[in-house]
Each structure stands twice: as C-alpha cells, then as structure tokens.
C-alpha cells in the first residue's frame, strides 16, 4: 500500500544547494527531485505516504538554472499503461517564491503513474515528468 519511491529518494532539504533565492526547502521528509537542463524541481507528498485511492497533496518548489524561483503552470498525472488520468482535478496553490501546494490528487489505481509538470521561467516553458509506483 505504500508508495514506492522509484526515483532516488532523498532528503530534499539536504540535497539542494543552499542558495538563498531558491532554497528547495520543503521541510523534513522524503521527496523527489526532478531535473532538466533548464529547471530543478523538488516535491514531497503530504501525507508522506501515497495510498491507492486516498487524497494527498504535493508540496513543490520550482527553480530555474540560475536558482531563481520558477513558475509551475500545470500538473497532471496519468497511467500510461491504462491510458487514463486521474478522476479528480487537482488545484494549484501558489505560495510565492516558486513554492506551490497542489491539493486534491488521488491515484485511484495501483501501478505506474506518470506525473507531468509544466514549468516556466522567462519565456522557457517545458514539461518535466516523473514516474511513481503506487501499490
């Protein structure tokens, strides 16, 4: 029933470079970091364990490559093997400084979920993806 942290599970707080503008500080807890050449994104679920069929929130922190806060434009999750998305529409709450809270996520089926995160800084928009196994 617990979410298997497929990506390298790490203490987000300790993994990020200590840069004042974009500290990637989500408090204590296990989370994930997703990179590209343009952006760095850290996130952790609340409650800390994602259970099949149970609502959870995601705390996110998005930075660009110069360690300035970036923008989270949209978030979605799908099960590529089953060609369906979530039954619930998450709500994005902008907490300022590249920090976000996403409410109302539910992974309603066990298996692989692909999270798609659209992030923007300046006029660069890109989609970061991250796989999660929930069982």
């Amino acid at each position: 029933m617990r979410a298997v942290l497929t990506a390298l599970a790490m203490l987000v707080a300790t993994s990020a470079p200590a840069v004042a503008n974009c500290p990637l500080d989500l408090g204590r807890g296990l989370g994930w970091a997703v990179f590209s050449s343009q952006h760095l994104l850290a996130m952790r679920p609340d409650p800390p364990q994602i259970e099949v069929g149970e609502p959870f929130a995601l705390l996110l922190n998005v930075c660009d490559r110069r360690n300035q806060p970036a923008q989270l434009v949209a978030i979605d999750a799908t099960m590529p093997e089953h060609a369906h998305g979530m039954n619930y529409r998450p709500r994005l709450i902008d907490l300022g400084d590249g920090r976000y809270r996403v409410e109302g996520m539910v992974f309603h089926m066990p298996g692989r979920w692909e999270l798609a995160l659209d992030v923007r800084s300046g006029d660069t928009t890109e989609r970061l993806t991250h796989d999660m196994m929930v069982q």
Binding site: M1, V52, G53, P55, E81, H82, A83, H84, M86, N87, Y88, R89, P90, R91, E103, G104, V106, H108, M109, P110, G111, Q135
Partner: protein
C-alpha cells in the same frame, strides 16, 4: 510378445504421468505476488471515524441506528424497512437481481459490509457519505417514498425512538430536516459496525507473511491457483485492490447499461452530478465537520466522458453469499461472472480505455480455480445481535 511388452511399458509410462499430474506441486508465490497478496490485508482493518458524523463510533447513535434500520415506519406505507432489502440473514442484501421498493428498481441491492472505509456510495457513487446515502432511500419515491416531515414526526411521537434520539444526539432540533439528518447519521453509525468476518483467505495471507508452513498448506491448491490469476494475469487486483478488494472507485467492465425500465443507466456520469447536487453532501450545512474534513474528493472530483457506464467497483468480501452480481444483477453466479471476464467482447466496453478488461480466455480449470479463490473470501457471518428493544 515384444508388442505386448511395449504396450505394458506404455501403460506404465502413462500411469507415471497420471501420478505425476496428481502430485503436481502446490503453487508457490514469488516476491511480487507475495507483496500483492499482502496488500489484501490485514483483516479486519482498524475502525475509521467519519468526522462529518458526530454519531460515528458512538454507542448511543449505533443503538439508535440499529433500531431504525429495522423500522418499517420509515417508509410511506409503513411496510418497508432498510432491513427488508438489506437483510441481516442474507449478508445485508436480498438475493434478487433488482430491488423492489415502492416500485421495481433498476439496480441490485448492494450488500452493506465494510462501508465504514468507503468513500462513495451507491452503484454510481451518488452519495459522498454513508449518512447521505442512508437518507436517500427514505426520500426516494421509488424506494421508501417518505419525507422529512413524516420521518421527523415518527421520531418525535414514538416515545422509544424519541428517547433513543435524545440519548444519541441530545435535545431534539426543531427543524424536520435536521431530525432526518440525525436519522441518517444514526443509520450510518450502525452500518459502520458491519465488518465482514475473517475468511480462509485471511488465514492464508497471514500465514504466507509469517512463513507458517502449516497455515500455507491449509489453503486449498485450487484457491491458490485462482489467487495467482487474480493478482497476476487476470489483473483483477488493479480494481479489486486492498483489504476490501476495491479501490473504492468506478470502472466499466462491459455490463450492458440498459435499464429494465427503459433508457440507459449513465452510472458514474450521473452519480457525480447527483453527489454534487445533494443538499446532504459533505460540503453542505449538515456536515459536523466545520472545515469540510473528508470533502476533498467531492471538491476535486471531475466529470469525464469515460464515466458514462462506469459503476462502483464492488468489494469482494462475502462475495460467494451476495449474488446475483453486477449493478443490474445480471450475472446469477460467480461462475457466470468469471465466464464474463473470460469471454467479454471488446465491443461491450463502452468508452473503455483501461485495457484491463479484455477476454482472458481462461481454460475450464482456470475458471474453476478463480471461482474457488473468490469463494475463499466468504464465510457464514454470525447473525448480528438484535437491536436493543427498549431505550436505556
């Protein structure tokens, strides 16, 4: 002479093969299978309180609810109690394909086991709480066909019921609608206590985790093979997941959605709209949780085209005792349900994109194994204690 020897040799060879088949080793489970099996327990689960219902888990509310559950005067004609359709001696259902209320119903009566852990209620998930779903049949013209005034008058004027009500919720509210909501909440508190018993599957699951060889051996081989199909090739556990054997969500497995009464049953597509429009939902004024606790699903649920023809994924505990099956009661036996999954035509899947439901092409042996596994999820449940006759 030589021919005879050859024939004898062949016979011996055949006999050895037959013996070898009979001694086919008991099925074993690899690491992934063990993890999947473990996810179907432990049983029973820890009770969960519904924060939107101040009667949840409260003995006085449970006693009031038990009393109301058997009360035919909750219906307009005084003849239908909840227990008429949800029979305590029939695993809280009625054994017929379609319910019969004030008029014949389109859907089958659902059993009421293990609802304290459910999030959506009714075949379409039209209720977002057990108490909202318990008010529904009282008001539904097709079922008990009553109204708030009549229900409130019953509780006010019957001395015993009034006493139960006071014991559970304190002073009687002046508004009929609030008395009706209290009735729903007491009924919910009672139904939360209906937890299905432990089964041979649970004993096996615990033995498998503990590495208890005797406990593992006690579970029949055909049920083991059926379980392997259930968590493996059948992909049943993707929907019938977790200790209750349901994710609590909705799916389309290709059961026709034509209504007996004509037209189609839109299932979840309509259920979402009904849940959002229900004045007794968790976001309404009758919830006992000021911050809307437990309303996250209702706030975020989103109606999509694929919800058309989806129905609630039933939990499978006690399933051998709760037929006929499916939302319309169209499958009389477990054998016919397994036959459905084995031969389902992809044309029957309306908007199905899950790719989880496709004809499995099971052999007769595999079908029998799957049925044996499903049966191992059921035992005879002890009859519930009769509701208290007098108010303390």
């Amino acid at each position: 002479m030589t021919l005879r020897w050859i024939a004898a040799g062949l016979l011996i060879a055949i006999a050895t093969v037959v013996i070898a088949a009979a001694r086919e080793p008991a099925p074993t489970f690899d690491e992934a299978e063990r993890r999947a099996i473990a996810a179907h327990g432990p049983w029973p689960p820890a009770p969960r309180r519904d924060l939107s219902n101040r009667g949840s888990g409260q003995p006085a509310a449970i006693a009031f609810g038990a009393r109301l559950f058997a009360e035919p005067r909750l219906s307009a004609d005084g003849r239908l109690a909840c227990a008429t359709c949800h029979r305590p001696d029939r695993d809280w259902t009625d054994g017929v394909a379609a319910g019969q209320g004030a008029v014949p119903l389109d859907r089958r009566t659902q059993p009421l086991w293990n609802l304290g852990h459910a999030a959506w209620f009714g075949w379409a998930g039209q209720g977002d709480s057990l108490w909202a779903q318990s008010i529904r049949p009282i008001l539904d013209p097709a079922e008990m066909a009553s109204d708030a005034r009549r229900a409130a008058r019953l509780v006010r004027e019957d001395a015993t019921l009034a006493c139960f009500h006071r014991a559970a919720f304190g002073a009687e509210p002046p508004e009929d609608e609030r008395v009706l909501v209290d009735i729903g909440k007491a009924l919910a508190a009672f139904q939360e206590t209906l937890v299905s018993p432990r089964t041979p599957f649970d004993a096996f699951r615990d033995a498998l985790i503990a590495g208890d060889a005797a406990g593992i051996a006690a579970y029949p081989d055909d049920a083991k093979r059926g379980l392997k199909l259930f968590v493996g090739r059948g992909e049943c556990a993707a929907c019938h997941f977790g200790p209750r054997f349901t994710t609590g969500e909705f799916a389309d497995v290709g059961i026709p959605f034509f209504r007996r009464s004509g037209g189609v049953d839109p299932g979840r597509f309509e259920g979402i709209a009904q849940a959002l429009a229900n004045p007794f939902n968790r976001l309404g004024s009758h919830s006992d949780s000021a911050d809307g606790a437990g309303a996250t699903r209702l706030r975020h649920v989103e109606r999509q085209h694929r919800n058309f023809g989806e129905f609630k994924i039933p939990g499978l505990r006690q399933v051998a005792r709760t037929g006929p099956y499916m939302h319309d009661g169209s499958k009389p036996t477990l054998e016919s349900v397994v036959e459905h999954y084995s031969t389902v035509s992809l044309d029957c899947l309306h908007g199905n994109t899950e790719r989880l439901v496709r004809p499995l092409g099971l052999t007769p042996g595999e079908s029998a194994d799957l049925v044996a596994f499903l049966r191992s999820l059921s035992v005879e449940a002890p009859l519930p204690v009769a509701p208290p006759a007098t108010c303390p």
